[in-house]
Structures are given as structure tokens and as C-alpha cells.
């Protein structure tokens, strides 16, 4: 017994010692084996890290400093404390352009609703659905400049396509881009049209990944089409909706090219000036790069806060296939 015990203990001890020795050896070997990988890994990640540091982090830090300076872009920045931020708080055009930007984001829910309806339609076996998918996606891959010029004509008050269509049903269309009340709705219509293809495509992909067994189970439980959509399909689409809302808000906050081409002076009574257009105007037209940088910083902060709130709300509501 004792021998066997001893043997067992000895064996155990004997086993333990070599195992420990073995583990150390394996670790060492594993370390040696993975060392070149670690080195190569570091070499591979160096370019993006350096790129990020040089082209994103350094400019960000500099812009943080520049936002506290009087800087005209022609000579060195001069520290001016919080002047730019106080100017911003009292600048009616800053607030108006910010308000315009938020107003134009009304296009996001409108676009999502239309995209979802289209995706649901295209998810059915309707003739020519492949062609429809291409047609809806075309604006998404077209140049913003070309689209803006196209819509400038389409929104023309006299012979624009939109007013001609309205005229067919007896409605006299407004002078879209020349009237303060209509310039923002006009830009929303264009934005929805442009973004619809991309959103529809994502919704379509999400619809096709909704597990059929869930829908069948709901059907067996007696759920009708509407309840299946409401309680099965819609929750399964929420990650896509979340993605589209987040990217839509970030993109919407940076709207510039359309405004600069369609309403190069900021629209009637500054009615279509977006915040990024105003930043560009102040920085490059009025030689106030310090002020423009301060506004950019505030805009970046606003986007960050809104996105963080969205992530927080989403973390409590999101559904996944898993």
C-alpha cells in the first residue's frame, strides 16, 4: 500500500516535476515559435498605426490646439483662449446652419421607411426584381456632383421634372431651390433618392437572413403576416436599422458637396447652409481657420455624443440571430 502509495506519490511527484519542466520547455518553444510571428505582426500593423498617428491623431491634436487660436491660414496661429467658442455661441449663422443640418436629417427615417418597403417588395418573387435592384442602387454609386447637377434641373421651378410631374396631377410646384420654405424639403427628397439603394440592399440582405424556422414557428402559433413582421422580422432587422441610422447621422452631419453645388451661397436666406458648408466657408472664404477648426471640433463632439447614445440605446434593444 505504502509502496504503491509511495509509488503513486512518487509517480505523482515524478509526473508533476517533468510536467512542470515540460510545460516550461513547451512555453519556451512556443515563445520561440511565435516570436517571428509577433515580429511580423508588428511589422504589418506598423504602417496603419503610423498612418493613423500621422494623418488622424496628429491633425486631431493640432486641431484641438488650433481651435483655441486666432488662425487665418496664412501665418502662424496665435493663442486666443476661448474666443472662438464664445464667438460660436453668439453666431446666429452657426446655429442656423446647425439647425438646417438637423432638419435635413429628417430624411433618414423617411429613407429607412421607404427602403424597408422596397426591400420587402423586392424580397418577393416579382418579375424583373433583379433589374429593380440595380436601378435602385444606381444613385448610390453615382458621383455626388453629377447627382446634384441633375437634381438642380429636376427641381427647377419652371420646367423641372418634379414640377412637371406635380403639374400632371394639378399641383403647381414651388420654386424649390429659390424659396426658403422649400429648399430643405427639396434637399431631403434628393437625399432620400440617393441613399435609398444602399439601405434597400442592406435590408434585403437582412430579410433574406431571417431564419425561416422562426417565421414558421410563429405561423404555427397562429401569428398573422403583420404580427410575424412586427415580432419576428422587424426585431431581426434592428441591427441593420441601427447601422443605417448611425451611418446616416454621421453622413448627414457632414453634408457638403450637394449644398455647395446646388445652393452655392447657402440657399435663400441661408436656408440650406449646412454646418460643414459653413465651416468650409469660414475657413477658406473668410480666413478664419481657427474658428472653423473650433466649429469642427464641436461638430465632432456632437457626432460622438449622439453616436454613443445610439450605441447605449441599441445595446438594450438589439436582436441577433444567435
Amino acid at each position: 500500500m505504502s509502496t504503491s502509495t509511495m509509488t503513486a506519490e512518487g509517480a505523482a511527484t515524478a509526473t508533476t516535476a517533468p510536467v512542470g519542466a515540460k510545460r516550461g520547455g513547451a512555453q519556451g518553444r512556443r515563445g520561440n515559435i511565435h516570436r517571428p510571428e509577433r515580429i511580423w505582426g508588428r511589422i504589418f500593423i506598423t504602417p496603419p498605426v503610423v498612418g493613423f498617428a500621422l494623418f488622424a491623431l496628429a491633425p486631431l491634436l493640432f486641431s484641438f490646439y488650433a481651435s483655441f487660436t486666432h488662425w487665418n491660414g496664412l501665418s502662424a496661429p496665435l493663442f486666443s483662449g476661448t474666443d472662438n467658442f464664445r464667438t460660436m455661441a453668439a453666431d446666429p449663422q452657426f446655429w442656423q446652419s446647425l439647425g438646417n443640418t438637423v432638419f435635413l436629417m429628417l430624411g433618414i427615417p423617411i429613407g429607412l421607411a421607404i427602403s424597408l418597403a422596397l426591400a420587402l417588395a423586392l424580397n418577393r418573387r416579382i418579375p424583373g426584381r433583379g433589374a429593380f435592384r440595380v436601378i435602385y442602387y444606381l444613385p448610390g454609386v453615382s458621383s455626388v456632383a453629377a447627382i446634384s447637377i441633375l437634381w438642380q434641373w429636376a427641381l427647377n421651378g419652371d420646367f423641372g421634372l418634379l414640377n412637371q410631374l406635380l403639374g400632371m396631377v394639378g399641383i403647381e410646384g414651388p420654386n424649390w431651390l429659390a424659396e426658403k420654405a422649400w429648399v430643405k424639403p427639396a434637399l431631403i427628397i434628393m437625399g432620400v433618392w440617393k441613399g435609398i439603394g444602399f439601405s434597400t440592399l442592406l435590408y434585403l440582405a437582412a430579410l433574406q437572413s431571417v431564419p425561416r424556422n422562426l417565421l414558421e414557428a410563429a405561423m404555427l402559433d397562429g401569428a398573422g403576416a403583420w404580427r410575424r413582421f412586427l415580432h419576428v422580422t422587424a426585431p431581426m432587422l434592428s441591427p441593420v436599422t441601427f447601422f443605417l441610422v448611425v451611418t446616416g447621422i454621421i453622413g448627414g452631419a457632414q453634408m457638403f458637396a450637394e449644398i455647395n453645388i446646388m445652393t452655392p451661397t447657402g440657399g435663400p436666406e441661408f436656408g440650406s447652409a449646412t454646418i460643414v458648408w459653413y465651416i468650409w466657408q469660414q475657413g477658406f472664404q473668410n480666413l478664419k481657420l481657427g474658428y472653423a477648426t473650433a466649429m469642427s471640433l464641436v461638430l465632432g463632439l456632437m457626432i460622438f455624443v449622439v453616436t454613443a447614445i445610439q450605441f447605449y440605446l441599441n445595446s438594450r434593444n438589439v436582436f441577433t440571430v444567435e
Binding site: H70, L74, S75, G157, D158, Q285
Partner: protein
């Protein structure tokens, strides 16, 4: 953007494809004459300002470049432009023959424009003349304007009313007396009525005067009361410029840079003075673009020579003016040019009269930033549509404009101190 090679200059400029071709040929001549190489960077007009600003920001301004006269004070104050006075004094090129107002526009004594050292050459002077469609006048049986005696506002309105009508017999108005682009033309009406944007010191906005209000009201009434210009809807369909090109407008601006296109149109045109308000004297704007030398250029002598060459060398000017994009930059060349009756307009003397007599620079070319004048136009639309009272608008907008003008002066003061 500058080359380290002492025999290579970099020249950045902008313009239409035709303009770029013309200036490239003039630069070729300079290269041949000086035996050096000039690298050309040219862009379209809408990209130019941002591209130049970025180059300056990166301390990579080209040796020689065009610059907007409205940016000149800022460029001079912040050491972007080189003082080329020593080269101007020693050159053999006929710089003295350049229009004096053009040269003075690029002088700066550290405080005021128009006096002191020279920081640039005028690429050109652009007299913004009024003109008329001779063919339409004949068709409508309207007496053409006298090239030497300007119409007063009442006479002008009368002619416009005679020109407005249904030429095609379609039941709709298809010809109009004029079409006023307020941004470009308000100066002519307002100045000739004795008003101005700013006081002489360029420190106070003076748009809230009865003379200014009367001029603006006159422009508004041309459309809203008298209907002698296309309506808002008409201009949204085809703007005044496009309707002029189609021969539907009687009176319209005819600037030198338009001549190449206008000569291809189906109607004949000529120049006349703008109608006159209370002063009885016509007025209009003179535009200009500068050619400057970078303060960082390692070859300022060669760079200044190129700038002066483009501005006044007779052979270079023959190439540039020959294409009809600009009037001659030198007085002696202009004296010969006006005699040429082989191409339109016949009354080229009007351009010379504007430059020598009644043309003015818009004061946003002289102030530190042009933001104050932009503020005038931001909320103007309801006024032009007759939905807002002119006097009330001018009173309110004067305060806004004054705020921007004061802000520009403050910016100027800070930059002066920083660069002194």
C-alpha cells in the same frame, strides 16, 4: 511647388480652357526669351482659391500665381506676397504704360491699399460694361441707346417697356427690356444715384441711405411693378444670362471675358453706358485679378519678371488680348485696340471710358475680408420679390454688415500686430 533649380519657375493660374491655353502660349514666349523653364499649374476657376490656399497653408506657394484682389490685403499683411517694387523700378518692360488704377490696386503701405510698395501686377482690368442686343432693338422698332449720352432711369424704363413683349406671337411674353443680376449690377445703379457701400475710410457701412434705398427699389420695381425683366419663375427656368444668349433680353452686361462667346451668337450687340440715377453720371464696376510673387520664392527677380511680362509685354499682350478675353492692359495698346472695328463690339471705347473715367472697384476688394458684403445678399431674396420693405431691410442689414466689417478690421489689426 517651387523647384530648387534656379532656372525653373512655377506659375499657378486659373481660367477657362481657352484662357489657360492663351496664357500658356504667353508663358511659352517668356520661356523662349529668358531661356528658362516655367512649370504651369492651372485649374478651373472654382477650384483655384481652395488649391492656392492649401498651397500657402503648406508653405508651398508657387513662385508666381494669380490672386483674387479681395484677398490682396490679407496676403500682403501676412507676408504671402513679395514686394516687387525694386524689380518694377529696374525692368525694361513698359510697366508705366499699365492702367494706373490697376497698378495702384496692388500697392499697400501696411495700412491702406492704393499707396506704397507694389505687391502684384494686374493680370487685367475687367470693365463691367452695359450692352444691348442691336438685333432685338431693330426687330421691336426701339431706338437704340446713344453710346455717349446715358439714359436716365425714366428713359431706360421706357425703352425696357418697349422691348418687353411677345415677339413670337405665342401669347406669352418672350422678350424683356433687361434682366438684373443684383449681385453684379446693383453697384451701377446705386453708385450713379449717389450711394455707396462704405464711407471713404472703409470703416462704416452706408447702405442705409435714401439714395441706396431708391436704387434698390428701382431695381425691384423693374420686375415687380413694371414687369420689364423676367419674373422669378421665368429666371428659374432660364436665367437672365441664358435668355440674353437666346436673344430675348434688350439690355444686358457685356464684360470682356464674355466677348468670345457673344461673338458666336445669332444677334448683333454693342456697348452703352449704364442708365444714370440722381448724379447724372454712369457708374459700374472694374474687376481685377492680380499676378503675385511668393514671398518665399528663391527666384524673386525671375518671378517678378514673369509677372510683369504677362501684365505688359507687348507681344504677350497681343496673344492674350487677341482672343477677346480681356481688354489691353496697357494704355498705348488700348488706344490702337479701340480703333479695330472688324469685330464686335463696335463701341469698344466704352470699356476704356469705364477704366479711365467712371468705373470703380467694389470695396470688398479693398477690405480685409469680404464677409460684410456677402451679408447684404444673404437675406435679400424677399426684398427682390417685393415681399419685404426695402428701407426696413437696408436698416437691419446695415447693422449685420457693420458687425462683419468690424470683425474684419479686428482680424486685420490682430494680423498686423502679429506680422509687424
Amino acid at each position: 511647388m517651387q523647384s530648387a533649380d534656379p532656372n525653373v519657375l512655377t506659375f499657378m493660374f486659373r481660367g477657362s480652357t481657352e484662357e489657360r491655353d492663351v496664357f500658356s502660349r504667353a508663358v511659352d514666349l517668356f520661356q523662349e526669351r529668358e531661356g528658362i523653364q516655367v512649370n504651369i499649374i492651372s485649374t478651373s476657376a472654382d477650384q483655384y482659391a481652395t488649391k492656392l490656399q492649401t498651397a500657402i497653408l503648406g508653405n508651398r506657394a508657387p513662385d508666381v500665381f494669380y490672386f483674387d484682389a479681395a484677398r490682396a490685403t490679407a496676403y500682403m499683411t501676412n507676408g504671402v506676397l513679395a514686394d516687387i517694387s525694386p524689380y518694377v523700378e529696374s525692368t525694361s518692360l513698359p510697366v508705366d504704360d499699365i492702367w494706373p488704377d490697376g497698378l495702384d490696386l496692388y500697392r499697400f503701405d501696411g495700412d491702406r491699399r492704393g499707396q506704397g510698395p507694389i505687391y502684384g501686377m494686374p493680370k487685367d482690368l475687367g470693365p463691367f460694361s452695359f450692352g444691348y442686343n442691336k438685333t432685338l432693338f431693330e426687330e421691336m422698332g426701339v431706338e437704340p441707346p446713344d453710346p455717349d449720352v446715358p439714359l436716365d432711369w425714366d428713359q431706360f424704363l421706357e425703352r425696357c417697356a418697349q422691348l418687353t413683349g411677345d415677339r413670337a406671337g405665342s401669347g406669352q411674353t418672350d422678350t424683356w427690356g433687361t434682366s438684373v443680376n443684383v449681385g453684379a449690377e446693383i453697384h451701377a445703379y446705386m453708385w450713379s444715384n449717389g450711394a455707396d457701400w462704405l464711407d471713404e475710410e472703409l470703416r462704416t457701412v452706408t447702405v442705409d441711405t435714401p439714395e441706396f434705398a431708391e436704387a434698390l427699389q428701382y431695381i425691384v420695381d423693374l420686375r415687380e411693378v413694371h414687369g420689364v425683366t423676367p419674373s422669378i419663375n421665368d429666371t428659374e427656368g432660364l436665367d437672365g444670362y441664358q435668355r440674353w444668349l437666346r436673344g430675348q433680353i434688350g439690355f444686358f452686361p457685356v464684360a470682356p471675358w464674355d466677348l468670345t462667346l457673344y461673338r458666336t451668337l445669332d444677334f448683333e450687340f454693342d456697348l452703352c453706358p449704364y442708365p444714370v440715377g440722381a448724379t447724372g453720371k454712369p457708374a459700374t464696376t472694374i474687376g481685377s485679378l492680380g499676378i503675385g510673387v511668393s514671398a518665399n520664392s528663391s527666384k524673386p527677380d525671375l518671378a517678378a519678371e514673369l509677372a510683369m511680362f504677362l501684365a505688359c509685354d507687348p507681344e504677350a499682350q497681343a496673344i492674350i488680348v487677341g482672343e477677346g478675353q480681356t481688354i489691353p492692359n496697357t494704355r498705348s495698346h488700348a488706344a490702337e485696340w479701340v480703333k479695330d472695328t472688324s469685330v464686335e463690339p463696335q463701341n469698344k471705347q466704352e470699356y476704356i471710358d469705364i477704366v479711365e473715367d467712371y468705373g470703380r472697384f467694389v470695396p470688398d476688394m479693398l477690405t480685409y475680408t469680404p464677409e460684410w458684403i456677402h451679408a447684404f445678399h444673404t437675406n435679400l431674396q424677399p426684398v427682390l420679390e417685393g415681399r419685404r420693405d426695402v428701407v426696413e431691410y437696408l436698416g437691419e442689414t446695415q447693422r449685420t454688415m457693420q458687425g462683419f466689417l468690424d470683425g474684419g478690421h479686428e482680424q486685420f489689426r490682430i494680423d498686423q500686430e502679429a506680422n509687424s
